[in-house]
């Protein structure tokens, strides 16, 4: 076992402790290669953090913009309309950019009666946690900010911090509808953490690791098609666990039919009712970032990560191979994001008690059964293979 390296340097806002063993990652090593020797390790770490933050932030912005555009197009076509068609020419591709600019230059209104520190901090916290989860995503061989050994654990842990931001936003807004949204979010996310975590256990048992990188590498067989969900020997648990994970994911990312924290027709806009301009866009970006991260986790654990049929043939050309892998990974993730959108524009919304009943009475027991089945299956596979 490698030592547990949740690498502090890769986390944008985490302090670097001097006492910690000075252990860098690829990014710091790369920087060390470029910079003179005199640059101290903490300098390298800071620079690496800044670089990682910049890259992720840019990536998240692009993902969020593309997702908003995609969401509007998907919604449009599902609803027999076209969606944005004008800005930028081809199918309104620049609509998201225009929206982004609009949100940036809009007046940032803070209610006189709002709890200002909470109100201001909430969007930053929400977006910050969403960005942090990108740290562990293995986009392609070598394209990964940190190979955290407990990657899956890390994602679940960090992504649920979002809830605190949402509660801060709801409470800080000094609006009863917002408080309702925040409380719903708290109740919902706290309940769905359990099925979410449990439904991740079958792949973890299969790979024998919490690392997302190892999970991806484990699926590289069969010319790149040895995906967990396609492995016939475990299909009995891989498919149900994915379905359970997907449902829990919808709840975790506040997507319909679980979009109760911001349910438009009941709570106006829920916890972000009082937000405008850039602060609102932070919540918006968080939603799409969270969708992407969750889809990416599903891609890594069930759909082979960057692996795809025949992709290994390109291994000789590193640049092309890395690009192709990244493309495969992002396309797979976006496909899952698309399914989430599809669900949103098809289904009505559940009521809070029904959400709770679904979570506690159906998903959690089912997850336990699947985890048990996965353990049993793994044991059988172990026995049979020896």
């Amino acid at each position: 076992m490698k030592p547990l390296t949740i690498i502090a340097s890769a986390l944008p806002e985490a302090p670097v402790s001097e006492a910690a063993a000075p252990q860098g990652n690829g990014l710091t090593e790369m920087l060390a290669g470029w910079l003179p020797e005199s640059v101290p390790f903490w300098g390298l770490t800071l620079m690496a953090s800044g670089l990682a933050f910049g890259v992720i932030m840019a990536f998240v912005s692009v993902v969020a913009m593309f997702s908003t555009w995609l969401e509007r197009k998907v919604a449009g076509h599902i609803q027999i309309r076209l969606g944005p068609m004008r800005v930028g020419g081809w199918h309104g591709w620049a609509q998201a950019i225009a929206d982004g600019v609009k949100l940036l230059i809009k007046e940032d209104i803070i209610l006189a009666s709002a709890d200002r520190p909470l109100f201001k901090l909430a969007p930053a916290l929400v977006l910050g946690t969403a960005i942090s989860t990108f740290v562990v995503l293995p986009f392609a061989p070598g394209v990964m900010i940190a190979d955290v050994h407990l990657g899956i654990f890390f994602v679940i842990a960090i992504s649920s911090v979002t809830t605190i931001g949402v509660i801060m936003a709801g409470w800080g807004s000094n609006n009863k509808w917002s408080v309702y949204g925040a409380m719903r979010e708290a109740a919902q996310v706290a309940s769905y953490e359990i099925p979410l975590g449990l439904s991740l256990m079958p792949p973890v048992i299969y790979y024998g690791s919490f690392s997302l990188l190892e999970a991806t590498q484990a699926q590289s067989g069969w010319f790149g098609m040895h995906w967990y969900i396609l492995d016939p020997s475990v299909m009995l648990v891989s498919v149900p666990s994915f379905v359970l994970f997907f449902v829990a994911t919808l709840a975790e990312t506040k997507r319909a039919p679980f979009d109760l924290p911001e349910s438009e027709s009941e709570l106006v806009a829920g916890f972000h009712t009082e937000y405008s301009g850039i602060r609102f866009s932070f919540f918006f970006m968080e939603e799409y970032a969270a969708m992407f991260v969750m889809s990416a986790i599903a891609t890594v654990l069930w759909f082979g990560g960057w692996n795809f049929l025949g992709l290994a043939a390109l291994e000789g050309i590193p640049v092309l191979y890395t690009t192709a892998c990244m493309l495969v990974f992002i396309v797979k993730s976006m496909l899952l994001v698309f399914v989430m959108m599809w669900v949103r524009w098809t289904l009505p919304r559940l009521r809070i008690d029904q959400v709770m009943i679904l979570g506690y009475k159906y998903l959690t027991p089912l997850c336990l059964i699947v985890v048990f089945a996965a353990s049993l299956l793994e044991y059988l596979r172990f026995v049979l293979s020896n």
Partner: protein, 391 residues
């Protein structure tokens, strides 16, 4: 928060308080006047214990436009456009109710073709109105897509209305003495075409929205109103029929040519839950659309050439003295006009008995005990149009 803390009334919640040994506070929260689920500027003051409502109180009047006072100050034809604006989703029916009341005082009957045209338009308008009702109900529940599907068919209907009277929302087409003009050439064929299209499209709404498991979960057993309550509170239309009361003015007080049409009065059956719940009201609306199509088809088969308006009714109407009440089956219930005339060209009283107004009055008694999300479901199932409740 900003309001002073409200202690729970001891008589209502004593048991719960003893059980929890905690003195809880109810949240008083304003739903509206600007709220997506109130379909306009209705304000419902909700009192909630967490997610569960313990009280509700409606506040109306944000859209009060003094229609009745205007009716006492303008002459009969001038009042026509104001009727369009009560329930702007079913203007044809509003026109019809008003026209019939005035004709009752005038003592003139519209020629047969006019009556058939009126019936066709009233039924088409009912479909258009129910499409919005069912579609927006989807939005209240959280399903956005069916609304656009509903608007697709409504668009066809509005085009038909536009062809016949030039307006898409406020028609003023049916007027005292007849209708504005005869249907343009080929218009009736277009209507027949619509009937065929609608028959094909109807299952889409049924499968996409009404048969959706989540939709059923959200509406069945929610906002149950027993038949006796519905009758006592004066509910009419789908609210009354959804509670299982077999009452439809088109059959029970036949006006126009409804006595010659063969149609079924759709009554809620508790198909997915308790009789009289929100699901049943939508069930009634869904099937009423099909019945309307049936009626339109029969009218198309029976309509003959001829005059559409009574020749004696001019622009200045001086009805005989007297008073007349005519209630007709609007998409939302019984829309009645109570007109008092003294023989001059201006009415002495122009009372509009609005179905939404009455149907809404029972909602605040249905809400306590439901969840906050059910408030949207119940108000949506009541299908109110604020233009009509406030007039």
């Amino acid at each position: 928060m900003e309001e002073p803390p409200q202690t729970t009334p001891p008589d209502q919640h004593r048991l719960r308080e003893i059980e929890l040994d905690v003195r809880t506070q109810d949240v008083e929260i304003n739903m509206g006047p600007q709220h997506p689920a109130t379909h306009g500027v209705l304000r419902v003051l909700l009192r909630a214990d967490g997610e569960i409502l313990v009280g509700a109180e409606s506040h109306l009047g944000y859209l009060h436009r003094c229609a009745e006072k205007i009716g006492e100050n303008v002459d009969y034809i001038q009042y026509m456009p104001y009727t369009d604006r009560y329930d702007y989703l079913s203007s044809m029916n509003n026109n019809l109710s008003y026209s019939l009341a005035v004709e009752k005082l005038l003592g003139v009957e519209v020629p047969k073709r006019g009556q058939y045209l009126r019936t066709i338009l009233a039924e088409l308008n009912r479909i258009a109105s129910h499409l919005v009702a069912v579609g927006t109900y989807g939005i209240d529940i959280g399903a956005f897509t069916p609304f656009f599907y509903a608007l697709r068919e409504r668009e066809f209907l509005l085009d038909l209305f536009e062809k016949i009277c030039g307006a898409r929302l406020t028609y003023s087409y049916i007027r005292p003495g007849g209708v504005m003009n005869d249907a343009p050439a080929g218009w009736l064929n277009k209507v027949a075409e619509f009937c065929d299209i609608f028959d094909q499209k109807w299952p889409e709404y049924w499968n996409l929205l009404v048969q959706n498991k989540i939709f059923i979960e959200r509406t069945a057993n929610v906002g149950v109103m027993p038949a006796q309550t519905a009758i006592d509170w004066g509910c009419t239309g789908p609210m009354l029929r959804g509670s299982g009361v077999d009452w439809d003015l088109r059959r029970d007080q036949p006006y126009l040519v409804y006595d010659q049409l063969d149609f079924k009065v759709i009554v809620g059956e508790g198909y997915r839950g308790t009789l009289g719940d929100c699901f049943d009201r939508n069930f009634v609306r869904m099937y009423e659309m099909l019945e309307s199509i049936k009626m339109v088809r029969q009218c198309l088969a029976a309509i003959e050439e001829g005059e559409v308006s009574h020749p004696d009714v001019s622009l200045t109407i001086r009805p005989a003295p007297g008073e007349a009440y005519v209630g007709i089956e609007n998409p939302r219930g019984e829309l009645g006009h109570y007109v008092v005339s003294d023989g001059t060209k201006i009415a002495k009283r122009m009372r509009c008995r609005a179905p939404s107004f009455v149907n809404l009055s029972v909602v605040e008694h249905t809400l306590p005990g439901c969840m906050l999300a059910d408030a949207a479901a119940i108000i949506g199932a009541t299908d109110i149009v604020i233009g009509e409740t406030d007039r």
